[in-house]
Symmetry: C2
Subunit: 188 residues, 2 copies
Amino acid sequence: MRVPKKERQVELQHTIEQNPFITDEALAVRFNVSIQTIRLDRMELKIPELRERIKHVATERLDDVRTLTESEVIGDMIDLKLDTSAISILEILPEHAFSRNAIARGHILFAQANSLAIALIDDELALTTRANVQFTRSVHVGERVVAKAFVSSHRQDGRSDINVESYVGDECVFIGEFTVYRSSKEES
Amino acid sequence: MRVPKKERQVELQHTIEQNPFITDEALAVRFNVSIQTIRLDRMELKIPELRERIKHVATERLDDVRTLTESEVIGDMIDLKLDTSAISILEILPEHAFSRNAIARGHILFAQANSLAIALIDDELALTTRANVQFTRSVHVGERVVAKAFVSSHRQDGRSDINVESYVGDECVFIGEFTVYRSSKEES
DNA sequence: CTACTATTATCACCTGGTACTAATAGTAGT
DNA sequence: ACTACTATTAGTACCAGGTGATAATAGTAG
């Protein structure tokens, strides 16, 4: 044995994780074992073949890119009463945080709250004109942030005030007041 | 001929563009021609085979996802005087905006300003604790937003106040006051 | 010496292709 | 009607990067 099996498998796992595009053949050379051994390792570790890995990365992309940018709401909306209140949940992933300390970047929490406030307004066009926010506790990777938004007033000048409070468990991590401009009509 | 060649090729182009994961076989069924015809079409149109297409999508992702999330600064930093001032530029792309009206989402401008404020602080750890922002004019897709940040005060309690103003041309589109907490040391 | 694990070797087969050659269908020009 | 030309189809050999199964070999521990 060149390297104990277990050790090799751990490294194999790592290697493939940070370069999913590597073939079994290349792995065999790298670890100085036969291709068959690599295949057995992959089986035990339940790592799919190259083509499946690539496909996975490709399809993930299609979901993923839309996280902070294209999606209408950042996080998953779990409750919505138009012009009244709304709730969304966002799980903090590594890419939402500073790499050095795994603390979520401020604009991620802001984005969740802001997009929730906008979604809450039942109007063609709603734009944030002002926001006042506080980050009351740092949020770490793996935590689930629940944002609760409620309209505090619909003004006559076409603006609405919305308060958002975000929690991890029962701890408040974010407080925000948003003023949004709504395009037209209704005062329900 | 079921459908003129040219017409089929235009549709083929489209079909593959919005679903790169389709095989030649599926395409052959769809257009009611033989697989070979599809292959000839792909050749003429210089469309690569399925696996290459998937690989392409997958590799693009690796660059792409890091745009609004992982990068340290949202936008391109073009000037930085630590603990003093900084400037970044962000071009508004379609995915930064509401699809219906091509107006940039508020949290995009916030993200640019916030990340610039954080980058400005010369410390191990800097976290936003409070922000007060105004969106003074809506920004459209294609416009380039120049954010200018400067430190207005370094307080003794470990916090710093930073003002950010963002412009499109000479029009101010965003004004923000950020208070950030810095982990340790120095008052330069 | 045996039992057992780890590794390697073969072989048939699969998908989704490439590359090439050849046959066939349909249509236009003279 | 014959020819020229394009479009389409068919078939063959081959490729990468595998799966799945079977069998042989190496190394080590009891």
